[in-house]
Amino acid sequence: MDFELPGEDDPRRQKVRAWFAARPRPTGRELAEAGYATPHWPKPWGLAAGPELQLIIDEEMKRAGVTAPSLVNPVAVNNCAQSLLTQGTPAQRERFLMPAIAAEEIWCMLFSEPSGGSDLGSLRTQARREGDHYVVNGQKIWTSLAHKSKIGVLVARTDPAAPKHAGLSQFLIDMDSPGVTVRPIIDLSGHENEYNEVFLEDVVVPADRLLGQEGEGWAISMRQLQTERVALSKPGAIWGAGPSARELVTGLAKIGALDDPLVRDEAASLYIEGEILRLLAYRSLSDRMNARTPGPEGAIRKMMAAPHGQKIVELAKRVQGPTGLIEGRQPFPAGPGRKALFDDWDYAFWFSPAVTLGVGTQEILKNVVGERMLGLPREHDPSARSPWNSPAAPAKRAEVAA
């Protein structure tokens, strides 16, 4: 057991650092071709890198001030494109992978629907096969990046007569196809374009855009949602993209707020939680390095990280007093060189309710932890087995116990 990260003198690190020194402003294509966009993938896209090398590349990219393709095109790089390695045809890999990991074509996930919420399997968007293409009709919501995307990863119902999870298929659609309309959603902070609604009206999708087989859509989608990048991302607000507890404590110290014993105690609790979340991330990483079955840390970490981040920004905002109600006012003097959207404490606070509202809401995550990790009986879904389109399918009406 050893908690030291790969050192400055690690030869792998020195090699990566030299590459970035030689190319101070690499294009996405250059990064992808060097294998730095998806280092854990096999060649030619990656380097078949283990977790340590991934970590080194991550750190060196940050050090060089280069924005990782995983940040520019997260849906492709972190979640969906890898499905082509296993499920895709050679032609699909050829057409989509390099532009995706080079972040030349941005991807978005057309998963959630207004009626579904966390019950993704009950989705209503349909893809009807007509000869050599499918015709898609439906509505998606909560689609990040839809307004910037060239490719949409669509889950749609191809067999309405099958039970809800069995009738789904996945497609890679062109977001500039006729019939695709993207409308920004304005969130409660007043920001737009973080999320979008996407309307799909008679959208024609060539049959060769089907990923895997018809009916595999649910399984493919679940794997994509559960994929986790190996990264020692700081455990902070907004899925790790926002302020961390370390930054909270430093900030509170700067403004003298830690003299208040109540604030000090809360800040200490959050600091400890933050450090523990970091340790849990380390352990997931190690398990992978040691080729062990990953322990429960991953699901548990997600379950704990979201409320942790919410509490960080909540304390910062509360300490600010009434001044915190004024739009854009930061609780702490800004540190040097921090400019990303979620480095803004004020915005992070108002955005923070969203982090427990994602595809896996907090309740679903706790079900998963309880059921998979502790073997507790599963929640009964009365709508899981009957044909999706059966008139009696309880997916469409309330089942209220007598």
Binding site: G117, I186, D187, P322, A354, D381, E399, V400
Partner: protein, 373 residues
């Protein structure tokens, strides 16, 4: 002994409910870039004044209804439920300051105009980075004949930009005590600018005074601040409790209808128990508010303790309930086009105005020990 609302109170509350349901619409705020002005802030005031609520607490001899904190709460609850944008709060607090701190002449001159709805007010207490309880070190008043000249900056002033007259606290050079002044909003040297306040159902601004001419509130002693504070706490607490109940009702309604995994989400214990807790806290907040209203109405010695308890409890509970409601609505509750965020922002804003919950809890202990002694 009777801990229930009287029929008169219930009738007053019902009439407020009917009026506000007809008058208030939050829809105009649910579009991007909306401000408080879009929600009928000014027009609502006209209606409110017509209802006689501008003069609710003003004695009949000055043209008001001479009602007490209990009746006030009946109306404020309905405003808290509907978020009713209007200069009601600023005007009420200013009116109370004049009522308790004005000379006979000042009361006679100003209160009838307030009761008519003709004169709106705002109370300017906090200085930038500070709180409403002072110490006013950044605002000075110097004598200039029979008037005063005031210089300084005030912030978090509710309804400042709509006020015809400002009630301002300041330090007078020869004394350490907080003194109270009236300043016409159109006096030279007065600058009022709105703040980009997150709670867009409320108008909040800052006031700069550069030698602005004011008159002393003649009868305002050291007792005015705690007296006014307790009433401000009551009003905010009443808004909190009613807003809390409203977000609870909305969330429960949604939970009865929204289906996930083949069942209404309200059938799941995680949601059901959260709503049960919200209801417990809503009933608790309201009980604390009614008790405080009763104690303040009869100037009972338990009033300050009751007001501090009501504000501290109801603020924490309302913020939590508004947040939880968004979680129950799911992602849709996070959008600008739903009203959920307006209630969350009101809850957070109310939690910070006139002292936060932790500060009031610290006071509760002292007041409770004094009560027990």
């Amino acid at each position: 002994m009777n801990f229930s609302l009287s029929d008169d109170h219930q009738t007053l509350k019902d009439s407020a409910r009917v009026f506000l349901n007809e008058t208030i619409s939050l829809k105009p705020l649910l579009v991007p870039g909306a401000t408080v002005a879009d929600a009928g802030y000014a027009a609502n005031w006209t209606g409110i004044a017509r209802m006689g609520w501008a003069g609710l607490m003003i004695p009949e001899e000055y043209g008001g209804s001479g009602l007490s904190c209990l009746e006030l709460v009946m109306i404020v609850e309905e405003m808290g439920r509907t978020l009713a944008p209007s200069p009601f709060l600023g005007t009420l607090l200013g009116c109370l300051a004049i009522l308790a701190g004005g000379s006979e002449e000042q009361r006679g001159r100003l209160l009838p105009r307030i009761a008519e709805g003709e004169l709106t007010l705002a109370v300017a207490l906090a200085e930038p980075g500070g709180r409403e309880d002072g110490p006013d070190t950044g605002t000075s008043a110097t004598r200039d004949g029979d008037r005063w000249r005031l210089t300084g900056a005030k912030t978090f002033v509710v309804d400042a930009a709509a006020a015809g007259m400002l009630v301002v606290t300041a330090r007078v050079e020869e004394s350490d005590a907080r003194r109270w002044f009236l300043i016409g909003a159109d006096e030279p040297g007065v600058t009022v600018s709105p703040l980009a306040w997150r709670d867009i159902t409320r108008q909040v601004g800052e006031v700069t005074l550069a030698g602005a001419r004011g008159e002393l509130l003649e009868a305002a002693g050291q007792a005015l601040w705690p007296w006014l504070r307790d009433r401000a706490l009551l009003v905010l607490a009443a808004e909190n409790a009613a807003g809390h109940r409203h977000v609870l009702d909305g969330a429960a309604d949604y939970a009865r209808q929204r289906i996930a995994f083949g069942r209404p989400i309200g059938a799941y214990q995680a949601i059901k128990h959260a709503l049960a807790d919200m209801l417990g806290q809503a009933e608790s907040a309201r009980a604390a508010v009614l008790y405080a209203a009763w104690a303040l109405a009869k100037d009972d010695s338990r009033g300050p303790l009751a007001a501090a308890m009501a504000k501290a409890y109801s603020s924490d509970a309302y913020v939590e309930a508004a947040q939880k409601a968004i979680q129950i609505f799911g992602a849709i509750g996070f959008t600008w086009e739903m009203e959920n965020h307006l209630y969350l922002k009101r809850a957070i804003s109310n939690a910070q105005l006139f002292g936060d919950a932790a500060g009031h809890r610290a006071r509760v202990i002292d007041l409770a020990l004094a009560e027990a002694a």
